[in-house]
Symmetry: C2
Subunit: 131 residues, 2 copies
C-alpha cells in the first residue's frame, strides 16, 4: 500500500524489526523514535498500513485498556500460536507440535478454524511462576 520509503517509515520499520515480539504502544514508538523525528500521526498512519499488510498485529494486555502492537513478520510467527505472559508481558512462541495438535483437535471436535494471526493465549510463564 505505501509507495514511498520516507525516512520516517524507514525509521519505524528498523525500530520494529529490532523489537519483534515486544508489545509496543503507539506512544512508546513515538517516544523511542523522537530522535529520528516522527509525528504521532505518522506513527498511527504507518501502523495502520502495516496492520493491513499483516506485518503487525494488535495485542491487548488483558485487564488493561491499553493497545499494543507487535511486529510479526517472521516465518516462525506464521506457524505457531503465541503465548503472552500476564506478569512480565513477554511473548512466547507455542511449541509447533502443540499448535498443530490444537488446531487439528479444534477442527475436528469443535469444527472451528483457528486464526493464528489474531489469536493470543494469556497466562503465566514459568519464570514468573517461580518467583
Amino acid at each position: 500500500m505505501p509507495k514511498y520509503m520516507t525516512k520516517q517509515r524507514k525509521a519505524l520499520l528498523d525500530y520494529l524489526s529490532c523489537h519483534a515480539d515486544e508489545k509496543l504502544s503507539a506512544k512508546k514508538i513515538e517516544a523511542d523514535l523522537s530522535s529520528e523525528g516522527i509525528s504521532i500521526s505518522a506513527v498511527y498512519r504507518n501502523i495502520s498500513d502495516l496492520e493491513k499488510e499483516g506485518k503487525i498485529r494488535r495485542v491487548n494486555q488483558s485487564g488493561s485498556r491499553e493497545v499494543f502492537y507487535q511486529y510479526t513478520d517472521g516465518a516462525h510467527c506464521k506457524e505457531c500460536l503465541h503465548l503472552s505472559c500476564e506478569k512480565c508481558g513477554k511473548t512466547y512462541h507455542m511449541n509447533s507440535e502443540v499448535t498443530k495438535m490444537l488446531i487439528e483437535n479444534l477442527a475436528k471436535s469443535d469444527e472451528f478454524a483457528i486464526d493464528k494471526a489474531s489469536t493470543v493465549l494469556y497466562g503465566v510463564c514459568r519464570e514468573c511462576r517461580e518467583k
Copy 2:
C-alpha cells in the same frame, strides 16, 4: 465491592445474565437499558466492578478497536476456553476434553500456565465457513 443493590445495578445484572456469552459494548448496554434508565457513567462504573469481581470479561474483536464485555459467571465458563468467530461474532465453548489436553500440553512442553478467564481464541466457525 458494591454495597447497595440499586435499580440500575439490578437492571444491568438482569440484562447481562440474559445475554451471557454475547459481546456487548458499553454503548449497546446503555442503549438496551435506556428504558430502565441508566447513565453511561453508571454502566462504566458497574462494569468496572464486575470486571474486578471476575464476573465479566473484556473481549476485543480482532481487527477492530472496539471493546466488548461478556458476562461469564456460569460454571461452564470456568472450565473451558472460549472461541470467538470473527465473521459472526458468536462465542463458542471449546470442548472440555480439548481444553484439558491443551492446558496439559502447554504446561508440559512450553511450561506455560494458561489463564482460562482471559484467553479467547479467534477463528471462523463451521456455519460461517459453509457460507
